[in-house]
């Protein structure tokens, strides 16, 4: 309890907790869950966008999309590393992903159906992600906060690229504009869901906020996202698919409809449009790659043995 009080005092003073330092088990577990889920989201998040790489409409768009998907894999790498500092291996994290014990962001269980979705994912999904992540640059766990700094920089670049695609589509031919509107229609509510259900319903929130693992409430972030995004949609000439959307002068923000939370929970429990395909693709990649990883390990062992034998001569 003394340790605990000291720990909390450090956090309250704004100090960073570093890997070798003492931390409560709950803090460690929550961080593993949160950072791990974030890492998994980066990896699974490659798939919906990867779906359009081979069909990107110009060489330049193809390069931008490839670079973006590569960045996501890179984010996965930092985040798994950050998570490993908490005493869990990357392979163990993968196992938990593949077994369904750990989740990834539900947004990646939605399909990407047209090129406009590459815009919508960048603009809305990365936009919502940034909204979540920017405060996490000030999170109490050092490696996580540092990873967030690096990731946020790249994500905001991705978001701008996504918005540029939407702009091109919205200003393009009637078919392109229709695709842009359709993409907004499909991604709007799932993006709002990315902030999670209202914190009123969450038991862990208070503790996590005290630990500075969570900085803002879900509702605060969601409101901030809507406030930023609505004018962007209007600038594009697209309509946000919410007939209740109205400006609230008092709160200086938009009133908007709640997403359908039953859909959120259905997707979470596995009934989203692409849950089976996304997890299936990751499992297959892992299983198909087993011989490859084993081969590299065997070679490394042989080389070590050879060096040893050579040294002994």
């Amino acid at each position: 309890p003394e340790l605990l009080a000291a720990f909390q005092a450090r956090i309250d003073r704004g100090e960073r907790i570093e890997p070798k330092e003492w931390m409560p088990e709950g803090y460690r577990k929550t961080l593993i869950r949160q950072i791990g889920q974030h890492a998994h989201s980066e990896i699974v998040g490659q798939l919906p966008e990867g779906n359009w790489i081979t069909r990107a409409p110009t060489l330049e768009r193809k390069q931008i999309l490839l670079a973006k998907v590569q960045d996501e894999a890179g984010h996965g790498l930092y985040l798994y590393s950050a998570c490993e500092t908490l005493g869990i291996s990357r392979d163990e994290l993968f196992d938990r992903l593949h077994s369904g014990a750990m989740k990834y962001s539900s947004i990646f269980n939605y399909p990407t159906l047209t090129w406009a979705d590459m815009g919508a994912v960048g603009w809305l999904v990365d936009g919502a992600a940034i909204m979540n992540q920017v405060p996490l640059q000030r999170t109490s766990y050092g490696p996580y906060a540092r990873a967030m700094v690096r990731i946020c920089k790249e994500e905001s670049f991705h978001q701008r690229q996504g918005y540029t695609i939407m702009m091109k589509m919205a200003q393009g031919t009637p078919e392109q504009k229709a695709m842009a509107q359709d993409a907004l229609n499909r991604f709007w509510y799932p993006s709002l869901m990315m902030f999670g259900p209202s914190d009123k319903d969450s038991v862990h929130s208070a503790q996590n906020m005290a630990w500075k693992i969570k900085i803002n409430t879900n509702d605060e972030l969601r409101q901030r996202f809507v406030n930023e995004t609505v004018p962007q949609a209007r600038y594009l000439g697209l309509e946000v698919p919410d007939e209740n959307l109205t400006w609230n002068e008092d709160k200086q923000g938009w009133d908007f409809s709640e997403p359908d939370w039953s859909e959120f929970f259905a997707v979470l429990k596995g009934d989203g449009p692409c849950n089976e395909e996304r997890l299936g693709a990751r499992r297959k990649a892992w299983d198909d790659g087993e011989w490859f990883r084993d081969g590299l390990t065997a070679y490394a062992e042989k080389q070590a043995a050879r060096r040893k034998a050579h040294a002994a001569e």
Binding site: Q46, T54, T58, E60, Q70, L77, R90, E175, G289, A298
Partner: protein, 257 residues
Amino acid sequence: MVALDLDRQTLFDWLLRLGDNALILGHRTSEWCGHGPALEEDIALANTALDLIGHCQMWYTLAAEVEGKGRTADNLAYLRDAIQFKNVKLVELPNGDIGQTMMREFLFNAFHFELLTALTGSTDPKVSEIAAKAVKEVAYQLDRASDLVVRLGDGTEESHRRMQAALDYLWPYVGEMFLADATDDALAEAGIAPRLTDIQTKWEAIVSDTLDEATLTRPDRRPDVHTGGKQGRHTEHLGYILAEMQFLQRAYPGAEW
């Protein structure tokens, strides 16, 4: 500007070969995105694809300029059908497992690296400039691919078996890279490109060293069984690649993206 004694169409065709090899191999490589055997591979494969698409864009831009008909790099990538593509068959084959993918990357990059190295000394300054940019990336790709070929060839029994199978499968396609036709000869005459026999000699040295170290056996089969890609006669696979790649440009002609 390009050597004036060389037929414009010949130079254009030759540049297309460079661009098409890069585009089609880049396409195949990009199919791995998100499906690699380890996170580091996912990143490396995406990076390779990105480099290759970059190379094809430079070659196509030069090709379009040489052609002088106002076409763009995108036009060349997206609005030609299979019989107008000039890549070697090797690069359009399906990926197979990651071992086959890496073996192809190694076999092609050993050629690609030596070709680009020679092209940095091209009499055509634009060609040498592009080659100088591309060769650094390809040198890295070659290092990485040959390293993996060695480690997997000399890894477990299974990884050895798979790498040998990949080599045996790909071998009858490698000869096409070195088979000079009138276009290659004309470019060599003009000093723009090296003789492919010279490239082959260097390729042989790299391949022979690497296969030895990888404990893999050089196949006892002619390497020039499957040829014709450079002249536009491809495998049945290319048509499917293009149908997918070109869909948006074909379905929405003239749209901007």
